[in-house]
């Protein structure tokens, strides 16, 4: 027999995820608070930093599941579109060339028909709005998965006092900006020199 709370949970996958997220955060926080005092003794080491940030990993892992559900949904639709197009194209080939080829010339002709029909039908699919939209969403979900993975990696990097992806990006941005200013000044200087020579 199901309890009232588990019945409610089963009503919506989103609510279920939220519930488990809360459950995980609650226990991670409580355990962290209970155990943080002895850990403070080793506050300079990686385990302390990792323990402090470990709940971020829990959150990311739970959210990964949400992204994974979406990813699977769009991935299923992606293969459904490919498989439907394959079926339709194969029917067209069968209608155009119903007999089994029995000589080399016939095989070549049939191969040409097969390639032309399949290329046309698949190009039509790849060019369609429904494919473009679904593929865009599929890539978007894949990027969300990557982002969660990046966030988990950041926790591990921070636990050993290494810069996170965002911090490295900031450095790249600053270098880019400085290089751009220097390059523009150098180019202006070259142009001025040439004008003066003339």
């Amino acid at each position: 027999m199901q309890s009232k709370s588990s019945k409610n949970l089963a009503e919506s996958p989103k609510e279920m995820t939220e519930y488990y997220k809360h459950l995980s955060l609650f226990w991670t926080d409580i355990i962290h608070l209970m155990s943080s005092k002895p850990q403070a003794l080793t506050s300079m080491g990686p385990m302390r930093a990792f323990a402090t940030n470990s709940k971020k990993i829990s959150v990311e892992l739970i959210e990964i599941n949400e992204s994974l559900v979406g990813f699977n949904q769009y991935m299923t639709e992606y293969y459904k579109q490919l498989s439907n197009t394959w079926g339709i194209a194969q029917k067209k080939v069968n209608q155009k060339s119903p007999e089994i080829p029995q000589d080399v010339e016939h095989i070549e002709a049939m191969k040409r028909i097969w390639i032309d029909i399949f290329d046309n039908d698949f190009t039509e699919l790849f060019d369609s709005k429904k494919f473009g939209e679904n593929y865009g969403k599929l890539v978007s979900k894949e990027l969300e998965l990557t982002k969660h993975w990046n966030n988990i990696s950041n926790v591990i990097l921070q636990s050993v006092n290494l810069p996170s992806k965002e911090e490295i990006d900031e450095v790249y941005k600053e270098i880019h900006s400085l290089k751009k200013r220097v390059s523009k000044l150098e180019l202006e200087l070259k142009k001025e020199k040439r004008k003066n020579v003339q």
Binding site: D119, G132, Y135, H176, K179, R194
Partner: protein, 354 residues
């Protein structure tokens, strides 16, 4: 019921020959990594960040005073225009007596994710033009752009018309909304902000995917069947492997540049509407007032003719020519047609104005 005796013995012969060709293929063909591309001899005359300015050694007497700088597609390597000695765009122009430079965009790394249109147009390309002007003691040079490289040169020609004597646009990517290719459909539905924020540069693997959906059965199946059927044809195999090596060697594209590209060209189509900004400057195609030559391939399935041709009508030049060729995107620049028709016509046009 099917009668076995009806099978043409030639079919068995063909199947056996094909199997033998597959087994013996390594004897006849090099691995793509072992192939030396034999690019036309050149000197690296300037290096900025990862870019290199290449100056090709003349193979005949230089007949024309104005040098030509070529900007190739950012998704390729510089040898796309120098893929085979017999089909080399660069070599053909050298043999016509032109002084040729090429801007090699190099291989961006994660550190280059913030490079944008401004860096490419007003940085790398402008620095190269300045270098050539200094070396050749000329005030203006001729400029040619191919594919996405032509989008960069088009922007340059609007912002620095005083430096461009003649402009040649070969299969330029200009009007994204009119582009009827599969790539344009994928680009229109892309969450490019999320992509760049998450992965930085546009990875080559994603480009491979985009190419693989173009004529998937002709390019993904039939092409390789033909390769194994012709495995004992040295010329065919050599050419096939060179093209394959080139196709499989796509550099990443800097994230910011890619983002601007997808948004400004394919999603919002700002370039052709004269609403695109590079740095703080607006790109107004009417400012292209120098002689202009546009080359379009009618069978182009990477950049459709409808995407390229609007440039011809949008510029302010009085002296402008639009040429259509019955070939595809790569066929226009690396085929016997390009050697026999495309390049001689371009050379004749350029010679009159150089």
């Amino acid at each position: 019921m099917y009668n076995e005796s009806n099978i043409d013995p030639k079919i068995i012969e063909e199947v056996l020959k094909f199997s033998k060709n597959i087994i013996e293929a390594p004897k006849f063909a090099s691995a793509p990594d072992e192939i030396s591309l034999e690019v036309t001899p050149h000197n690296v005359v300037q290096e900025i960040d990862k870019t290199r300015l290449l100056h090709y050694e003349p193979i005949t007497k230089i007949k024309f005073k104005t040098p030509l700088l070529i900007s190739y597609a950012l998704i390729n390597r510089f040898h796309i225009l120098d893929i085979h000695p017999e089909k080399s765009w660069v070599k053909n122009l050298l043999s016509q007596g032109f002084d040729i430079y090429m801007l090699d965009w190099g291989t961006p790394t994660s550190m280059d994710k913030y490079l944008d249109f401004d860096d490419y147009v007003n940085g790398y390309l402008d620095s190269s033009v300045e270098y050539i002007k200094n070396q050749s003691s000329t005030e203006k040079i001729s400029l040619q752009g191919y594919c996405t490289g032509a989008t960069i040169t088009t922007a340059y020609a609007t912002l620095h018309p005083e430096s461009v004597k003649n402009y040649i646009a070969t299969a330029p990517v200009i009007d994204g909304w009119k582009d009827t290719t599969v790539i344009s459909n994928l680009a229109k539905h892309m969450d490019v902000d999320k992509m760049v924020e998450t992965i930085g540069n546009m990875p080559p693997e994603f480009m491979y995917y985009c190419f693989s959906v173009l004529k998937p059965f002709e390019q993904g199946v039939e092409k390789y069947v033909k390769f194994f059927k012709n495995i004992d044809n040295k010329k065919y195999v050599d050419n096939f492997l060179r093209v394959e090596k080139w196709l499989g060697d796509t550099p990443p594209i800097p994230g910011e540049l890619f983002k601007q590209w997808i948004k400004n060209i394919y999603q919002d189509n700002l370039l052709i509407q004269n609403k695109m900004y590079i740095g703080k400057e607006r790109i107004d195609l009417k400012k292209i007032d120098m002689p202009m030559f546009t080359q379009v391939a009618v069978g182009d399935h990477l950049v459709s003719p409808e995407c390229s041709m609007p440039l011809h009508y949008a510029v302010g030049s009085n002296d402008k020519t639009l040429k259509l060729y019955p070939t595809g995107h790569v066929g226009m620049i690396a085929s016997s047609l390009s050697q026999k028709k495309v390049l001689p016509e371009m050379g004749a046009w350029l010679a009159k104005r150089s």
